[in-house]
Subunit: 455 residues, 2 copies
């Protein structure tokens, strides 16, 4: 245990560096024995270790560069599961295991669109997750800026939803309204007879970048193809349509659903020394969309979880409660891993569930959901970390635990640039600042430690 | 001439709004006759008209949305030439005409790369202008960060040049060093036996965006395929290579040279009232790369030229010298229009040549090249515009006139974001700020007017 020995030495040094007590203690009669440090005393050591972790970056680089994008049904995801199990095992945790989860076997294939009038040119598109494909559909284009604009005029057309994501900090507050068109636009347009939909990429900044994401078909509408287009092309077609120019487009997409396949959640524990049956869950999702590298979304969260576990295990005292790490599968395509976990484990005694799924930026706040008294308890417990707690939020993977009354807590970093890369080929390691990665880790590990030890 | 009448009315109103002279003039004995305003007096009116031009935006929107990208050998470029001739004719200019220029008939076709090891995935690439294609070449990848790193180790490999563009204002000062790898990388690597090159996109900001641009083969090296890759992929391959991971890639490209075809420069004049044989040239290039819309590069310059001509013609007094507008063809692929113009017209009496080819951002300075005494003359003439003049610069299209001793002047806006979109699919109308477009126009038209009237 060289790591643990080094840590103890550091702690002793730290203890001796503390200011002297107000009343001088009498000199010890015998050789001094260092007292067991309290959880609160260990917090600075844990956070310092987090801030100086180089493994956080190295592990993220391995996951992004050597495994890469990892849609739940792919060999890359299976490789990521193996890597996570091997890492958690090597770090010496308890009960390292996988749990099977059936996930959609949706495959993207190729996609392309061609503007036929007024100018003939290619329009890059990216199938939305879950969309059906088409060998080719050609139709006039109708551009709308809200669901309310849909009507009989879209029958037989390709509908473009051009609803810009709002701007302003925090950015995530504007995400839902824009993403609603991505999620539900196809069925809404299909009810009026549309033959395909193109949805403006959900982002506030674009350099001709396509952003994918989940779409869901309603049962009462035909299943029509749905793809993202760039904000640039969305605006160009909108300007032309508003100038009275007739637009005509051809869309081809291979995307298809091939049923379901087995993937896995990955779990591991640090067993609590006093209340092992009480669980503090620390989670992130191991899967990603199949473009980019899944760096901010959610490789960063994966590393926050792995490093939280490693650094807490390296402390000289185990936590009072059990800390359970979970790396969820298939969050992107509908929270399959999160729902499976809640169905199997929801009845266990979860004191709190923490998630990191908003990237590696400077920590800004905690968002908490749960029963009325729980957030108050959280505010007290989190006080040493110096970050505010706001009501609401948590994380997609842990959300299914709400039905079991579990306190849900999400790490909310500054998200000014998160949606620049979210679900796009630009979600790559170079967008991650190593220092901000470890700042997030220091907060995340700190809260896990405090919640696992508080009264 | 309703425009001219309105302009005159504005001028009269402006004249009467001037502060009274220090000595009161005696009351006129007869009905006052407005004196012919001097060129200096007309400058504020010209600049005000430029700042309030809505046609600037409308013309740019037409060029970008309805004509679109316009590589010199394409039907879109021919359409742009027709549109420019029609616009200049409708604006009532003199000697509106085209002059033929033979340009390369290079065609991009499709391009793709696939990383085969260590992770198998697609790597988007974009052929560099002028590159040969390949039905498919598969080889190990060697990453270099300078020409000096090329050596025997690259024989039989695909060389990646990963040389980031430097940062700092003005951005253009960092462009040449990075673009040198795009221009000359293929031949430099081929001399050492490389079979293809991938060049990091020349930009300081990327959201998985590919930037094309001209490449040139040397006579003493085999012609190997050359394509841009994103900064994200350039960094990923670099990190893997430096970690000792063996990389293997397959590249396919349709790009091919099909000889030459005829394109056209477009010219028009406002004949000088006193020295018609002296020419102030105002130019920009009408062609663009075949990705995006050629908005900042150089649709903005085209509109600066068109609107400068329209607004000066609307003034109540013609300029003393002739102002000649020129919209060059085929700047992007090697300044074909600029060289043809200099060859035909270089011997004429050009007092100065102005170019706008750095986009629609807030004007920052003039860059001037020419004989020793000329810039001093420019500094005096440009003083009313309030922008500094630095030595050096001009513009690619007008550069061939240097051999004829012509004073070359370029408009240098704040270029912080110019290279974010330059030569990429993100060079689109939404990136242009309408107010900054007309701020640039006010400066450009102002200088054209002053140079055409100064002593």
């Amino acid at each position: 245990m060289p790591v643990r020995e080094r840590t103890l030495a550091t702690l002793v040094a730290l203890t001796f560096a503390l200011p002297p007590p107000l009343l001088a203690a009498p000199p010890p009669a015998t050789e001094p024995v260092a007292p067991t440090p309290s959880p609160a005393q260990l917090l600075p050591q844990l956070q310092q270790a987090a801030r100086s972790s180089t493994l956080a970056w190295e592990r993220l680089a391995y996951l992004t560069d050597r495994i890469g994008a990892r849609l739940a049904n792919t060999p890359a995801m299976a490789k990521a599961v193996q890597w996570a199990v091997a890492t958690l095992t090597a770090d010496g945790h308890d009960n390292v295991r996988t749990e099977p989860v059936m996930v959609p076997d949706w495959r993207r294939g190729r996609a392309g669109a061609r503007l036929l009038a007024p100018v003939e040119r290619e329009i890059p598109i990216l199938a939305l997750g879950g969309s059906v494909g088409t060998p080719g559909v050609e139709a006039p284009v109708v551009v709308v800026r809200s669901f309310a604009e849909l009507g009989p005029q879209v029958a037989g057309t390709i509908v473009e939803f051009n609803v810009p994501m709002g701007e302003g900090v925090p950015t995530i507050q504007h995400y839902g309204a824009a993403a609603a068109y991505r999620t539900g636009g196809a069925s809404a347009a299909a009810r009026h007879g549309a033959v395909a939909v193109l949805v403006r990429s959900v982002t506030t900044r674009s350099l001709a970048t396509l952003h994918t994401g989940l779409m869901v078909y309603a049962d009462d509408a035909p299943r029509i193809p749905a793809a993202a287009i760039t904000t640039e092309d969305a605006d160009t077609l909108d300007r032309l349509a508003r100038a009275g120019v007739s637009l005509r487009l051809r869309v081809e997409m291979d995307a298809a659903d091939h049923g379901t396949v087995e993937s896995h959640n990955v779990l591991a524990e640090i067993r609590g020394r006093q209340r092992p049956e009480e669980i503090v869950l620390v989670g992130a999702h191991l899967d990603s969309w199949d473009v980019g590298q899944g760096a901010h979304d959610d490789g960063v969260g994966v590393v926050h979880v792995l490093e939280t576990m490693r650094l807490i295990r390296a402390l000289p005292v185990p936590p009072r409660r059990t800390i359970r790490a979970i790396l969820f599968t298939c969050e992107e395509q509908g929270v399959y891993g999160g729902r499976a976990y809640a169905a199997t484990h929801g009845g266990e005694r979860h004191v709190a569930a923490l998630e990191s799924d908003l990237g590696a930026f400077r920590p800004r706040a905690w968002g908490a959901s749960g029963s009325r008294e729980q957030p108050g308890w959280l505010v007290d417990a989190a006080r040493p970390l110096g970050l505010p707690v706001f009501a609401g939020g948590g994380g997609a993977d842990i959300a299914p635990l709400a039905a079991h009354g579990v306190l849900l807590v999400g790490l909310y970093p500054d998200d000014t640039h998160y949606f620049d890369v979210h679900h796009s080929p630009a979600d790559t390691l170079d967008k991650v600042d190593p220092q901000e990665l470890t700042e997030g880790l220091a907060a995340f590990a700190g809260l896990a430690w405090l919640l696992a030890n508080t009264d």
